[in-house]
Symmetry: C2
Subunit: 259 residues, 2 copies
DNA sequence: ATATGCATGTCGCAC
DNA sequence: GTGCGACGTGCATAT
């Protein structure tokens, strides 16, 4: 029945499978197909995957995943918003998924099907993630001593050519401070990025500017590069920032600063 | 039986589910559990996901995925190499996944299980992807006129502080050319990346250097930035590069160039 | 709609 | 092991 919460077919014929898949599409079920298949993808790039046993998952929002029996990442996929159809052709079960913008298509061709499952999943649970780079920004703005005693934030996410400065403010001596925040070990790339940003600022503002990279750590050989460019580093762990935010329940920044 | 290719339980009790899951772990099956659950993650960041119906997938290489009924991406996950165990606690079925380096853990707590499936998947099919940035490199090296008439590639992936140059060579006038290749519309970042690479080269080599960004297109306002830094742009589509490579079956670069 | 930058990014490859 | 850059990156946000 279409209203069932779960439909599972074990070792169905291709004809049986195609009916179950069409029903899953019609009733917007979460579809799982396991079986021997090959896959073709054409779009921004092209790919082929020779025969083997995989999972095909198609969700009701139009996302598609092909998972091999190993690996975190899908070998082929289609983001949500794709449209699908299924057909039997030359004794094979073909599942087609197409999306526009960019135009891309995935075709999964099953020679045999181990299992078809159509699930009616209901999920409205809230997802909350802590310790992002944004959390680090907020923590520094709310508790500037996390960065440095006497630091006074002035603004954040400020647009300056050629990009954005994460946070800027003044230190205890009134010196201008530009802060670039990274939630992971900072790399050479990050140092160069910061260097690029401060050059135009130094040129524009006619006073001393401190540029500080804030991150949990510095990549191995980056310290000397950083120093040679006149930049500073301040160690700060995203987890410690998350703790600060937990204490202060409401952390709407608009209340504290004018951007 | 443990040797079965597929085991599927529909609406199992938690006790039945836990037995099936343990068997799946023991026999290195691809495991799918559908049911009402909440999820906690702690590691580089932290997250909580309140109750709802999802798919839990655990592969035999130790990767874990929690998929909501919408979205291409898993809401929680663990890359391959994690280790798992399952237990019933307080009338809930808990699946724990832990990895080291970095230390991270995911706990999926089911209050009810809709389906448990353990699949013995066999997959050795080859996966081939065309039209990568690497394909573009190879195409230019094999058919330099794709870049420019008279271009003579000399080397590629050459290490120069502070990074790598994709391709370098000489143009028809013997002028040195540095090429940075991108498979997508080139952004401001890409321009800055190229700029930072050529600066030290210009300083070192005591002759004129052309720096060219090769990509299918340039982002809107990047053209002026590019020009102001004395860089060039050459439009090239990764798909056209892929075509060149298909014509020449064997494209081992070692035969043509010394790196 | 396009551009820009973050991500629990993951992954592969070179050192 | 660490660093570094690509990825069919996806994704949200700001313009």
């Amino acid at each position: 029945m279409a209203s069932e919460k779960i439909i599972v077919l074990k070792n169905p014929s291709l004809a049986e499978a195609v009916v179950a898949i069409e029903k899953a599409f019609a009733h917007r079920r979460t579809l799982i197909v396991a079986g021997d298949c090959h896959v073709h993808y054409a779009g921004r790039a092209n790919s082929t995957l020779e025969n083997g046993e995989r999972l095909l998952i198609i969700k009701s929002d139009g996302s598609l995943l092909v998972h091999r029996p190993t690996g975190y990442e899908p070998v082929n996929w289609q983001p949500s918003g794709s449209v699908f159809y299924v057909e039997v052709k030359d004794d094979m079960l073909e599942v087609h998924g197409v999306r526009q913008k960019p135009h891309e298509s995935v075709k999964v061709t099953f020679s045999s099907v181990l299992m078809v499952s159509a699930l009616n999943l209901s999920d409205s649970g809230e997802f909350i993630l802590h310790a992002s780079e944004d959390d680090m920004h907020r923590a520094i703005l709310l508790k500037p001593e996390l960065f440095e005693a006497g630091f006074k934030p002035i603004s954040w996410e400020k647009h300056v050519e050629p990009g954005f400065v994460d946070i800027y403010g003044e230190d205890k001596d009134g010196k201008m401070v530009i802060i670039e925040v990274k939630r992971r070990t900072a790399s050479k790339e990050n140092v160069l990025q910061l260097a690029k940003y401060i050059e135009p600022i130094k040129a524009k503002v006619n006073r001393e500017v401190r540029a500080v990279l804030v991150a949990p750590a510095l990549a191995k050989d980056v310290g000397t590069l950083l120093a040679s460019m006149g930049l500073e580093f301040k160690a700060l762990d995203p987890k410690d920032c998350a703790k600060v935010l937990k204490k202060k329940e409401n952390h709407k920044l608009e209340k504290y600063f004018v951007n």
